[in-house]
């Protein structure tokens, strides 16, 4: 039994539940009540295929439309409900997804996959005891449900109910010994109870399964230090730094350029564009393959009205790094000014694709 002595837990649990989401949202449910009714079945399947495909491509808005279409044809279709609920999480319509799933489960309490997604919506709203209650309900009908055990273990850890956490995490590992997150969370639990050697063991198991597990390296360093194993701690700090992009090697060029571009930034802030351009061009001579510099130069050239030069600079930026979004935006405006609307539209679409990813980098 789980004791929760606090009302809410943490977003880490959201990550934990996300780990298992694809089973629920794209792969359907083994307790979903079987195939949909025959009437309209082909159309439902078509809608679901379209939605699943869009989901896998990361286009959650389109996927949502597909699942809504499936539900229009067959209301309460169990897999469409699960898909739509998961899309709600992806599209940050969490409350809406929650209400949809609660309503559905009132009629179809057997839909385990829907209940797992409901637990995710509760975690996202920081309602952890309620999420745990849903997961325990899953275990009543499916005592070996891996996802329910793992997430109950994680929630119990977050609630500092370490005995319960151990039970669920060990059960998870009995069901799937190569579950890196279960080893990792077990390691966190051991560390929280002061068993640093045991924590080291669990973090090492997680890393053996997933060598790029950032959190496991980060915490293995801490556990090793507290266990007095300083060599291991130092080794893991280096591993963490490398994996998390914090190593000097990874950051060196960016840091050099950044440090050297301060004068240019100051000149820009003071609207001294010629001076800024000269600073950037000096930097470029030292870092000729550094794509963001071409973007910076193109931006200043635009300020100076040098469109042709700006065009070349911006094109070079996207040639060197096609994932840079801003030069596409600037190119779109530039092409528009130059009367090439087709190119402008193409660049704008590329920019939009790079920037307007739900939960992506462009906005919070």
């Amino acid at each position: 039994m789980i004791r929760f002595d606090s009302k809410r837990l943490g977003s880490g649990a959201a990550v934990a539940l996300l780990t298992g989401c694809l089973v629920a949202c794209a792969g359907g449910s083994r307790d979903s009540g079987g195939a949909p009714p025959p009437a309209g079945g082909e159309t439902v399947e078509t809608a679901l295929q379209h939605a699943d495909s869009a989901f896998k491509d990361g286009d959650y808005t389109e996927a949502q439309k597909g699942y809504e279409e499936a539900l229009r044809i067959v209301p309460d279709h169990p897999r469409a409900i699960v898909g739509l609920g998961t899309c709600g999480l992806k599209n940050r319509q969490v409350k809406r997804a929650h209400d949809l799933l609660v309503d559905h489960l009132s009629r179809h309490p057997e839909n385990t996959a829907a209940r797992l997604v409901l637990a995710r919506t509760l975690v996202r709203q920081a309602e952890f005891p309620e999420a745990a209650a849903q997961l325990r309900t899953v275990l009543e009908s499916d005592p070996d449900n891996l996802m329910a055990h793992y997430n109950l273990g994680f929630i119990a850890y977050r609630s500092h109910d370490y005995d319960t956490a151990m039970q669920h995490l060990q059960k998870t590992l009995a069901l799937r010994p190569d579950h890196p997150e279960a080893h990792y969370t077990l390691g966190l639990t051991e560390m929280a109870t002061g068993k640093y050697d045991d924590a080291v063991t669990e973090f090492e198991k997680a890393i053996a399964i997933d060598p790029r597990h950032v959190g496991a390296h980060f915490n293995l360093a801490a556990a090793a230090a507290r266990a007095g194993r300083n060599d291991l701690a130092e080794k893991e700090r280096r591993a963490y730094a490398d994996l998390s992009g914090r190593s000097k090697a990874d950051a060196e060029e960016s840091a050099q350029v950044k440090a050297a571009s301060l004068k240019a930034v100051e000149a820009l802030m003071a609207e001294r564009y010629e001076e800024a351009l000269a600073e950037y061009q000096t930097l470029l001579a030292a870092h000729p393959q550094y794509a963001p510099l071409y973007n910076d130069i193109g931006r200043v050239q635009l300020k100076l009205g040098r469109r042709t030069e700006a065009l070349e600079s911006l094109k070079q930026a996207v040639t060197l790094d096609p994932t840079l979004s801003e030069p596409h935006y600037l190119l779109s405006n530039l092409y528009h000014q130059m009367g090439d609307d087709a190119a402008s539209t193409r660049e704008r679409a590329t920019f939009a694709a790079l920037e307007t990813i739900p939960e992506g980098k462009s906005a919070y």
């Binding site: 039994m1 004791r3 929760f4 002595d5 606090s6 009302k7 837990l9 943490g10 977003s11 880490g12 959201a14 940050r92 319509q93 969490v94 409350k95 809406r96 996202r124 709203q125 920081a126 952890f128 325990r136 009543e140 977050r158 609630s159 500092h160 966190l188 950032v214 959190g215 390296h217 980060f218 915490n219 360093a221 801490a222 230090a225 507290r226 700090r237 730094a241 998390s244 914090r246 950051a251 840091a255 950044k258 440090a259 571009s261 301060l262 930034v265 820009l268 802030m269 609207e271 931006r299 300020k303 935006y329 920019f351 939009a352 920037e355 307007t356 980098k361 462009s362 906005a363 919070y364």
Partner: protein, 573 residues
């Protein structure tokens, strides 16, 4: 088989509920004090404006802080609000006020003395402020950071200030956020750290949001690069020298917002903690020779528990667990918990105890900014206050569980280092949503309990008076005056022993988010009517330790280095 399984399930559920009832935390006692909003009655009419007109310039999101400091040396804390708008290059509408200095009249009211004092920061898009007597002439000077050149105002000692930025060499010139004074090299002169944020310029306005839907939003900090922070060494002749590189704290990648100086290892010199937004927080140990060593990874205070950089905004340090060592607290973006890092004995490592402490869970749907450890009810333990508000003013259009304006949080310590959010019981302000940013703490009415001032984004400034704190428990307020040490005693460690309890606090300038608290150290004493001892470890080479006591509780005392208690004042004066 379903019937028996269901029956067992029902029994288990009942047992679970019964156990939950048995193990549920006991009802908390009533709060010992409340906060009353007295802004208008106190004569404060400051209105922060970010100057935005819909183009969503990035600088509109970060807003500004405020500072408590006694600029006229009359023993009453004065209040300085930092103004941001108008946007650079835009005309200032008549209704848009400047950064404002309010002189405390000592009767609960304040008077706007900005024009006379000459601290309007009229040319700057303001961020933060921090105050110290940098020139050791006996009065409090003021540094104001801006998006663009920042400003150092030297106090002339007659109620006016002079802009000495150029001569002092502390302009910075970048997108500055928090700043804080500390005598890091123990030469008796306060030095200045300036946290710089991102390389946004008004000429570099990127498009963020949903282009297809024509919804332009404020960008995430990932859209911009970081900037190095500045460390200005006080040369003692009115001039400063920028030494970040040679001191070993050069980090051109960091996107710094918050900063706190803290002697985490109690070796007598101030170490440096920097809260970064979307890049790892940084922690530098002072090596005692003018240089610092990056110990961020050894300390484990960079990130979340999973090693992921978060969106550090504000920060504070205090000994919340009463083991004599200063712990760290950082406020973060929604979906990230505010983090409490417990200092494990000053040897380097910290433990992340955000969830076990109770500070993490209620913060998950909030974006935290200003923050402070404070003993609001004088029960001899440290409570925590956090201002909240999302950076995106249109967050509700893309998320149905988040809002732009958010309630501020007030976490009450249960005496064992466990916190419970009890804002709704603490005061009406904590029931309503606001767009929180800067926060600063002071006993502005000198009645023996800690009051709050806030500078929300694009909204009116707020003054919250503590009612009942001084009646709830005994207290002592300690002001230091350095002689060999810097005059404000920055970096001094003060240990008060009373009622069988030892409390350790450090004198520091700025903390929170772009803000500065009352430099006087406030100790809640609970039921103790007498202080057995005050021990002061003055900053210096070597540190000097002085002890005074016993002395009665419920008074303001000033200790001068080498002379002991030189002034005692009862409450209300």
């Amino acid at each position: 088989m379903r019937g028996p399984v269901a029956a067992v399930g029902a029994i288990l559920a009942i047992l679970t509920m019964a156990r939950a009832a048995l193990t549920a935390p006991p009802a908390a006692p009533p709060v010992g004090a409340r906060y009353t909003e007295v802004t208008t009655a106190a004569g404060i009419a400051f209105q922060h404006r970010h100057g935005g007109q819909g183009r969503k310039y990035y600088i509109e999101t970060t807003a500004a802080g405020l500072c408590w400091f006694d600029y006229d040396g009359d023993g009453w804390q004065d209040l300085y609000f930092v103004q941001s708008g108008p946007l650079p290059g835009q005309p200032r509408p008549p209704s848009l006020g400047f950064s404002t200095l309010y002189r405390n009249l000592g009767d609960g009211r304040f008077e706007d003395v900005t024009a006379k004092a000459g601290v309007a920061n009229a040319a700057g898009y303001g961020s933060a402020c921090t105050s110290a007597d940098y020139d050791g002439d006996g009065d409090a000077d003021l540094y104001v950071t801006n998006f663009g050149p920042s400003v150092l105002y030297r106090n002339n000692g007659d109620g006016t200030f002079t802009d000495v930025t150029e001569a002092a060499g502390v302009k910075d010139g970048l997108y500055a956020a928090s700043a804080a004074w500390a005598d890091y090299d123990l030469d008796g002169r306060p030095d200045l750290y300036v946290a710089n944020y991102v390389d946004f310029t008004m000429n570099d306005q990127k498009y963020c949001g949903d282009l297809a839907a024509n919804r332009r939003s404020y960008c995430h900090p990932d859209a911009y690069g970081g900037l190095p922070d500045m460390l200005f060494h006080n040369e003692g002749n009115g001039k400063f020298k920028e030494v970040a590189r040679s001191a070993g704290i050069w980090d051109p990648i960091g996107k710094s917002l918050g900063v706190v100086w803290v002697d985490f290892d109690r070796d007598g010199d101030d170490d440096l903690y920097v809260a970064n937004d979307a890049t790892p927080n940084m922690f530098y140990r002072n090596d005692g020779n003018g240089r610092f060593t990056d110990i961020t990874l050894i300390a484990g205070v960079c990130c979340s528990e999973d090693g992921t950089p978060q969106s550090g905004m504000g920060t504070d340090a205090a000994d919340y667990d009463e083991d004599g060592f200063q712990d760290l607290f950082v406020t973060n973006l929604s979906n990230e918990p505010n983090e409490l890092y417990r200092n494990l004995g000053g040897k380097g490592p910290f433990a992340i105890v955000s969830y076990p402490s109770g500070l993490a869970e209620p913060s998950l749907l909030m974006t935290g900014w200003g923050t402070a450890f404070l003993d609001f009810d004088n029960d001899a333990d440290l409570d925590v206050v956090v201002t909240n508000g999302h950076p995106m003013d249109d967050i509700a259009t893309v998320s149905d569980i988040m809002s732009y304006a958010q309630r501020a949080s007030f976490y009450v310590n249960d005496g064992a280092g466990r916190y419970r959010e009890r804002g709704a019981e603490i005061g009406d302000y904590f029931k309503r949503a606001d767009v929180g940013r800067g926060l600063a703490v002071a006993d502005y009415d000198n009645d023996g309990d800690l009051d709050l001032a806030l500078n929300p984004n694009n909204r009116p400034g707020i003054l919250l008076r503590n009612d009942g704190g001084s009646a709830a428990g005994h207290w002592l307020s300690v002001r230091l005056t350095g002689v060999k040490a810097n005059r404000d005693g920055l970096g001094a460690l003060v240990t008060v022993t009373a009622g069988g309890k030892r409390q350790v606090k450090e004198v520091r300038s700025a903390s929170s988010y772009m803000s500065q608290n009352d430099l006087r150290l406030h100790f809640g004493l609970g039921a103790a009517t007498r202080v057995d001892q005050i021990e002061v470890r003055w900053p210096g080479k070597p540190p000097r330790v002085e002890k005074v006591g016993p002395l009665p509780a419920d008074q303001f005392v000033t200790l001068k280095e080498g002379l002991g208690v030189v002034e005692k004042r009862p409450p209300g004066r």
